[in-house]
Amino acid sequence: MRAVTFLLIPIASLAMGASPTTASSSFDSVVKPLVSQYCLDCHNSSDSSGDIDLEWLQKRGQLELQDRATWERIVEKLRAGEMPPADEPRPTREQVTTLAGWIDQQIVSLDRDAKPNPGNVTARRLNRYEYDNTIRDLLHVQLRAANEFPPDPFGYGFDNIGDVLSLSPVLTEKYLKAAERISEAAIPSVKPVPSVAVRYEAEALRQIDRQQLQTLHDFPADGNYTLRVAWENAISDKSAMTVVWYLDGKQVASTPYMWTTLADRGVDTKGVRIPQGTHKLEVDIQTPPPKQGARGSSKPSIVRIQIDGPFEQAKREEMAGYKRIFFKGPPTAKNQAGYAREILTTLARRAYRRPVTEGDVKPLLNLANLVRSRGGSFEDGIRVALQAILVSPKFLFRVERDPPAGVEAQRINDLELASRLSYFLWSSMPDDELLMLAEQGKLREPASLRSQVRRMTIDPKAHALTESFAGQWLQTRDLESLTPDAKLFPDFDARLRDAMRTETEMFFQSIVSEDRSVLDLIDGRYTFVNEPLAKLYGIADVRGREFRRVELDGAQRSGILTHASVLTVTSYPTRTSPVIRGKWVLETILNSPPPPPPANIPSLDETRVGVSASVRQQLEQHRSNPVCAGCHSRMDPLGFGLENYDAIGRWRTTEGAVPLDSSGVLPDGRQFAGATEMKTLLKADAPRFVRALSDKVLTYALGRGLEFYDRPAIEEIANRVEQNDYRFSELITATIESLPFQQRSRQPLEAAKSVARADRKP
């Protein structure tokens, strides 16, 4: 059972250190009587309600390691006011604090005495993101085949957790289908792909009334494509306009156009050379600003786009995917038998991320030969063998070997380390250099590991850390699925959504590539904007879709908390939610997520907010209910601090007619007025933030939820970051050099299921 909420215990109590002697002396005088008075009626050895029996505690006066997880649950329920139940006599607030504090201290001293344990990571199947990246690097084919897979389940805030990543028949079927699609893209048949026309309607893409439109499109082959756009509502004032096309964010065509008659409602490009693969295609109709005093405000709005092609298709021998596999060129009459073996050995070694054996290669060769025996070509045979590689568990799962019997923990081998590194930093397979070092057993030489980490961090593939780690940690990946109400927020469109995401990505990336202090995440006074975002932020003189760095004075914006992306994903479609925003701060910055609402208590009723009362007043009224107050008094005041930003992150000072009050208070009691002061306070508590961030990074790097025995590793990572000017690079290096990243224990400790299993009577 993996059920440990890590770092529930305030860091402060760690720092203070809780001596067991103090604990035991306070036990008899304080804890024992409280437990007898409030708990023992139900949690005794005969009833042991909820499988919890506290009688033995009364006898022993201290906690035991195997009950650690259960004690965390107990303290959680105690703090949340769920226990004792509402219809039983309940302790006072002070008594709860005393009891919970005592348990905290006990847990801290348990952890201090626990022996080092690197933990055990369950075999991870590639998630969707890793699958696509791995295919890209393995075959040099740019397909987003995993878009067809069901969403990956999340655990501990990330989608790369081995324990949680399950596998269904549906996914297996899609693996098979993806393997066929990918292998056909990598090794096309000799026949050219037929030219077709594909349409995308603005209405279906939910991008109506816009001068821009964007979509993903599968371009089936390297070749020329004609890009066509149609619009309506054009005005015929003979003014010039330009239709600009972008492929994966880069301009590929620009067609000037002059309106002459109302009937002109479409324009085509000349053939545009586009490489095979799934690309993001955008079109933008650029019009001059309306003349002063011009009548009406009619603008062209795109109805559909159409993609015709491919024409003048490249020969398959010229395509990147083919060249990657057939690295000696097309087969000749003489070299076929040996060549097939070479090709499949190279492919399988890369795909399985380790040296291959005859047992790996022989069945693949047999498959290729079967195809040839049925009249297929050399390439056809390799294609089918490639399909088998792509559905093999050796490709789909990252498997590590347990230490041999009798050994509790040991270092993972170099090949396993290479995969851990590459999937941590790149979300993809090890490249040839990394794999070769690992095969030669040289990866762990001190100079070698450090220089590899440095090399990998500056490689463009390390953008994965931003996209995947930061996108999930900050929850900005959720932007894709959100639609703020179009009537209330007409400015929100696909382009602004992209801009929001890009801002946060570029900002995080700047911390990585400039090796800045991680504290800049909280209040770095610069950011990256393009025109749509600058308009939202009220920053003047920023034109066009290109992003540029701007310096900030910190009055309205600084750091991620005031990024529009974060403010939007923590809002409802029609309005802000201080509750969700507060929860976000607790989870992301303070690493202290509130427990879910207790049973049968309705979630906080924010919809009652009306014109007569502000959100704030309504929420304050709710917090008068003691059951809600436990958590909401921590969440809501943090959210209030961000009330100066509306549901898409625009600055405001009033809500409707009501002036906004953005003062609040941190869980530790420090008060603030507005977001800037809140950030100052959060930054002042740097140790806490650094530990929160280290916790998230280690979780992501390992692909497992953290356990209590990981706490020394977190402490060490955090200390190293603090001692090195909070540099991001130290966070990465310290994580990679930590015990849980370097080693593996046999199987997870089978933690005791409950404080008092029936067989554990005192």
Binding site: A204, V384, Q475, P573, P595, N600
Partner: protein, 444 residues
Amino acid sequence: MTRPLSRRTLLRGAGALIALPYLEAMSPIAFAATRRAAEKVARMMYVYAPTGMMPHAWTPTTVGTDFEFQRIMKPLEKFRNDITVISGLGNNSGNLRGDAGGDHVRAVASYLTGVPIKGREVRAGTSVDQIAARVLGQRTKFASLEVACEDSRLVGGCDGASCAYQTVSWKSPTEPLPPEINPRALFERMFGDLNVSSDPVERKNQQDYRKSILDLTLADTKSLQKTLGGNDRRKLDEYLSSIREVEIRLGKADSRSLDALPAGAGKPNGIPASYAEHARLMFDLIAIAFQTDMTRVSTFMMAREGGARPYPEIGVPEAHHPVSHHGRKPDLIEKLIQIECYHLEQFAYFVEKLKSIKEGDGTLLDNCAIVYGAAMGDPQAHDHDVCPTLVAGHANGRIKRGQHIKIEKQTPMANLHLTMLELAGVPTEKFGDANGKLDFLTGI
């Protein structure tokens, strides 16, 4: 080759006209081989409505046969004699708090499993549809089809627990089945996910190669498994059983289902922009799957439990979940009723469709038992005590229809599931927290 289909209906899909077989016109010849004439095939389905329903706008005020239809249920009024409304069933397991999870996540995962969830590890129970699928699915292409109109959240937790809980269907206590939301993907699964060549020789090759690949994968998985410890072995087990299932499915999928497609019929292009179109397209596909006996078991989620979908097309731009906390405000209650009624309208479309399809002496609806309901009661309270429930269809004439029945509050929902299993011809002794069956439903 003679095309068994001469007519088709056109639906507007995402951005393109798509053609689907017009159901009634689908010649039974194409499927005669799959079904013996005398055999009465029972289909079981659960349609899930999220976030409870306004009790006063749902529950009929009188019991018995001549009850008046309240607002939410109004779209079904013309099918009065095809449905039975049951008041009093409670999703009691959803009330039990495990170690994590809010009211929503507990509601959805307990609904068809009859057990409380274990919050942090992803664990519930085997759901009623999957128990039925083990038997009813033996001779069909799909043991069951799970569909929905809304995906799980992309990032983060769902209501204090893993988002994996956001499904009603559980193949085993640790295997939640994620529903399919994309009509195109569903279509591909039904009519051929993989490319199928029109050349018979090539088709045979394709099948043989796939089989060889799957055999090799099975062997690889087994040999890899031998070297691994407990948790890793369990992960590989999931893959092993999935490959076996796909292998069986490929074996059953011959050219027949493709021949069933009309000439020129296209795939849906994606998810339609309009909710109603999306829901109806998914319902159409399930109707085809029932009609052609591709499956006999299905679950369908109208939207995600506790989800934030807005419905601007019916004048509700606010997210569903916050609206459900209506706080007794009349305007919010009104919006909530509109959403709930909107869901019912789509279901009524499905009922009508099933009723329009001839099967044997009667209609397809005659051979179905379909539950439409929610796993929570009053949206404001977020309780699970009296969950709105109705049963549509006749289950081969074994359902007593056209009535509203009131039973004791918090009668276990699992009692209904036991009854459904019996109606589907999969009699079962024990299920979840069931303490009996609903004899009134079958008592003719």
